[in-house]
Symmetry: C2
Subunit: 342 residues, 2 copies
DNA sequence: AAAATCTCCGCAAACGGTTGCACAAACGGT
DNA sequence: ACCGTTTGTGCAACCGTTTGCGGAGATTTT
């Protein structure tokens, strides 16, 4: 913050009027004579006066700033979300302050506590994987700070949230596999302690059951990274009764699967179909391109910010918390077979 | 910004002392008696008083906030950079306000102009591709706002900058190809109007010349997306004298090349080597994994923020602008051959 | 010509916090 | 008992802007 800032007082002094007059001139207050307004406008132009947002915030108790707390920025999904948030915020005249927790509970607590000072008008939070307690979040809410969760919410906290429809995303993916003729569908899943791991597996099982396929424990393994997939895929394909499709909990895992399957000379999708989850950049560059589930991160970010704006505008009204589920979309590419014609 | 904020005045009233006394107690000023300090501390604790950062900023003319203007957030390189910036900023007690220009000159101008009001202590800018004029940047600098460019700088503006070493990155990549025995090396390049396009091609040509290989125009084509690569790679491989290596201006293009080469039954890297540029996520998931050039975005972000901090601390001293080049690193994976033993 | 009404502007307080200065009370020394 | 310190606190101004209120002077109304 440089010191040579032109203030309303400078304008006033130069013109031999009071700061109030300048202030009123700038907002075209009827009390001020056209002549004076004209003078003020001219000098403002000349000196390139810009209002001091900090002073405005102090007086109006409104900072037009929202805080964004995210586990990580370098992550295709999160950066899409951030982008959506920023887009809506910018259009609504809000600035976005960004904080990354690096998936650390302690850091998240630190950040949330510092937010009390920041005077943000609202907060958007996606909680870190390692956060088990949520007192820091409750405290902020108790202070009346509008808060909206996106993607990862703290269950026990009553607040607005917008989340990915993991269950239906998984359900639709698996149902699609079934409708293309797959019957032995494996699932490479994330830890069940994570919301995404749990919901996606539920969707998987639910789709199987709907179509009368008995879920088979030997086809469900914890495997959620590319490297893990390189190890585990061969094992599962060497089972007596190997799968004819694999539904992976994320794209990176799916790419590992593709790589191994090709090395093992399986044809994709003729012998084995593969579906991922995320629809990141990688999905388009694999060979074959990956069928996957788009989470619409950008859209999710926009909705989260819109909900926050509504909450901020509603101010003291305090309507009940709403949960919005962003629908997923199955993006069909080359790693799955076409639908069977009936 | 909620209204039920506890202020120093509340503490003072409750304790029957003046706000000054509370303020001094909180900074452990020697003038205040231990007894009073104790009382203040207790009440502060009880009422969960948090200083109002806006009021502090107004008085101290220091916001502890920096503005970050970036063409896009959803981009592996930029999000790494942002992450590095945020990391250093957080450690130094600065908040980061993020703005994306979406590669639009008009939006960039809007943003930069709004920054004058924001009272940021400094600005980090990567200019949009479509920015030709730089008056908006000059204006900010004239107002004395510390400004550091990262990755994409405005040449005609004298300001600190930290950039990727595109030339040497390309040079080293091509030299490596030569040292693994490649002789006909193609280059898929970005438009030469872009800094990265120009520098990387220069590095490519320079490496060829150093090793006595005549640059061949038929091996240099404009091609900088995955889809373009799908079209162009077959053409270049069907030349009478096809290349034995392709150096692509980015990873996505390189993945397109890999895909086509495999379809055309070329063996990688035995028949044709491929090198990308970026070292994004995709580089690890291709088959074979992609040899590429890491730009160290995270590191670049950290350095940019460190330079800005130095500039902010130096305040009025105004030392000459410095340019820092972040070295690139050749990350050797499976799409290139091993070095020839000598 | 007095009263009422306009027109145009400034004073002062406020937002929340900090800080130079003054000052009252208590203390120590003579 | 008197003076000089020390100790602890409050007053007021300030950061930049806004806004309720009051008021001087000009203009209109009766």
């Amino acid at each position: 913050m440089r010191s040579n800032q032109v203030t309303i007082k400078d304008i006033a002094r130069e013109l031999g009027v009071s700061p109030s007059t300048v202030s009123r001139s700038l907002k075209d207050h009827p009390d001020i004579s056209p002549a004076t307004k004209q003078q003020v406008r001219k000098l403002v132009e000349k000196l390139k006066y810009k209002p001091n947002a900090v002073a405005l915030s102090l007086r109006s108790r409104k900072s037009n700033t929202i805080a964004l707390v995210v586990p990580a920025i370098v992550h295709h999904f999160f950066s899409s979300v951030i982008s959506g948030i920023e887009e809506v915020a910018q259009a609504a005249g809000y600035n976005v302050m960004i904080f990354q927790s690096n998936e650390s509970y302690e850091r998240e607590v630190d950040i949330l506590q510092s937010l009390a000072s920041i005077q943000a008008d609202g907060v958007l939070v996606s909680v870190s994987k390692t956060s088990i307690k949520f007192g820091h979040l409750k405290e902020l809410m108790n202070e009346g700070l509008p808060l909206v969760f996106f993607d990862r919410a703290a269950e026990e906290i009553e607040a607005d949230r917008v989340v990915v429809d993991d269950f239906n995303g998984a359900f639709n993916a698996v149902e699609y596999l079934i409708r293309t003729g797959c019957r032995r569908i494996a699932h490479f899943s994330a830890p069940q302690t994570l919301g995404i791991g749990y919901q996606r597996k539920r969707g998987y099982i639910s789709a199987l059951e709907k179509h009368g396929i008995e879920p088979d424990d030997t086809l469900m393994v914890k495997c959620d990274t590319h490297d893990e997939a390189l190890e585990i895929t061969p094992k599962i394909m060497r089972l007596d009764n190997p799968p004819d499709a694999i539904f992976a909990v994320n794209d990176l895992t799916a790419t590992g699967i593709l790589k191994v399957l090709k090395q093992m000379r399986f044809r994709i999708p003729d012998d084995v179909s593969v579906i991922g989850f995320t629809d990141g950049l990688v999905a388009t560059v694999t060979d074959p391109p990956l069928t996957t589930i788009s989470q619409h991160g950008f859209e999710l970010g926009k909705r989260a910010m819109e909900m926050l704006l509504k909450r901020i505008d509603a101010l003291e009204e305090d309507f009940p918390a709403v949960t919005e589920v962003i629908p997923t979309e199955l993006v069909i590419r080359g790693s799955t077979r076409p639908l069977l014609s009936d």
